[in-house]
Point group: C2
Chain length 321, copies 2
């Protein structure tokens, strides 16, 4: 077995080819530019790992892995347009560099190219894999729309936030594992448990992301600590605080959002801590991680074949950066 | 055989169902709104006619027809965003009514739903049909990008304009016929000739469209006559005029574009006529129509089965509205 590190390297190498025709360059250059910005390539590697769990890697899993990464990048290009984000991985976003229309269209064409890769796999798997791919793509769109709807709302319940994260982030991780497993000949039951493993892992990952944004060690965390607080983002911590804070604390938070003072991060963090959401977040993260692990346990393959996924899960969720 | 009228009615009825989940309505309502604006549904009916040419209609042809119409509408929603168009069929465009982000995302999800319909057909045809669908979708994106690139250019050659129209408009008509034919069991040679029939028909259609915009009878033509001239659009007539006009006529046109006087349409039309582009356009239209007909002749089925396509072609190209 190759495991995360080796598959990750091999995928990055295979993915670095040119996926697009050369003409018109005004359409395909923006697409290639965005892929060149890099990324952790976690989703395609999960597809490969889900495949390797059952057997030697099926060559079709590489095609699906590429399709998944192209889909993910398509969604990022379009999200950046919708969020008016100027930067992605420290570089100008596609719409910043090439304008909105070219960004929109190069995202569209990237999605079509993703389907082109899906279409390369054996006809015996095509319909099943495409069914999951389509369903997941719709859910990711639903998650993005729900996230935008939340920006307009003053209050969002924890339940609704969870569902949004599940759609926007978790289902693609889950489906990547599942599509890999299907190409490895996995049965229904194994596919189900792998999917649930991925889904809960995604939720644990997002809790950790929200936690690090508030409580991360600035020397280790890649982004500005407190960035979510500065931009008034609804996170696990923020929503839980609104649910458990006293009326006066809620007034104070709303006041901080309205007046935006220089010590806003510090003051909001103090309320977070008074409400105990820091330890709550750690518990919630562990809860999702253990749910994920219980589903991985249920996957009927030799324990040692699961070792790479187990290590990756711990790494993703317990990381400090 | 059912022919255009009957298939058109039956398709409109089948297409009028709800194609989307209900939640989140902020994502799916804009998509459903746009489909509700109607349209001639020519592409899906061409798919059905291409299928009926060879046999009774294969139920899979209805799925592909729906996918084609959804794809076409996806591309219109996104084109409207890129062109900042306020109206479509006399009604507010999706981005005007629901905002840019919702328009972008509901277009995206519509494309995914189109692939969902493609995925319903028999696995024996799936890979082949999806290959054509993907290739055509890429070409349509390339055509739209090229069209946008042309807006920035002062001069565009007739050759380049033709190629753009082929990508933006013709290939989808051609591919619709071809996918229908494949589902009817047509062989390579018949598919090729039907594709070429559709491609040339599309070019003839666009020449007629450009011609009617300048020379249409205002009492019959649905849009404002001279609209392309007002908006300085590069059309067959405009490009041919720049290629054949005298230096002083070219100066006059460029001056009219710059100063935009109230009698601009009248004056540009006079130069068009002096350059003879009105009769040239009629000849060009007939040339493409006869090329299309020659390819239809080559399709090896009984002549009477081709009758509906022949009638439709004449109607589309010789229409005065």
């Amino acid at each position: 077995m190759k495991g995360f590190e080796e598959l990750s390297k091999e995928f990055s190498k295979r993915f670095s080819i040119n996926h697009f025709p050369s003409h018109p360059s005004s359409l395909y250059e923006p697409a290639a530019y965005f892929l060149g910005l890099g990324g952790k390539r976690i989703r395609p590697v999960l597809c490969l790992m889900g495949n390797e769990l059952f057997d030697e890697i099926n060559p079709d899993a590489w095609q699906v892995a590429v399709a998944i990464e192209l889909f993910h990048n398509f969604s990022l290009i379009h999200d950046d347009i919708m969020d008016r984000a100027p930067l992605r991985r420290g570089m100008p976003t596609v719409h910043e560099k090439y304008g909105g229309p070219a960004a929109l269209l190069s995202g569209d064409v990237m999605l079509v190219v993703a389907y082109n890769y899906i279409n390369k796999i054996s006809p015996s798997y095509l319909q099943k894999v495409m069914h999951i791919f389509n369903k997941t793509a719709m859910q990711v769109c639903e998650g993005q729309q729900t996230d935008m709807d939340f920006e307009m709302k003053e209050e969002v319940s924890l339940q609704d936030y969870l569902q949004m994260i599940e759609l926007k982030t978790s289902v693609l991780l889950a489906a990547s594992l599942q599509m890999g497993a299907i190409l490895g000949g996995a049965g229904e039951r194994n596919c189900h448990h792998l999917y649930e493993f991925g889904k809960n892992l995604g939720l644990a990952f997002q809790v950790q992301d929200d936690y690090l944004d508030a409580y991360g060690d600035p020397s280790k965390f890649g982004k500005q600590v407190g960035g979510d607080i500065v931009s008034n983002k609804k996170t696990f911590l923020f929503i839980k605080t609104l649910e458990s804070a006293s009326p006066s604390q809620i007034l104070e938070i709303k006041d901080l959002i309205r007046t935006n003072p220089p010590d806003k991060v510090e003051k909001v963090l103090r309320i977070f801590s008074l409400c105990g959401v820091d330890s709550w977040a750690k518990e919630l993260r562990e809860e999702y991680l253990s749910r994920a692990m219980r589903h991985l346990d249920e996957v009927a393959v030799l324990s040692r074949r699961k070792e790479p996924l187990l290590q990756l899960a711990k790494f993703l969720v317990q990381r400090e950066y």
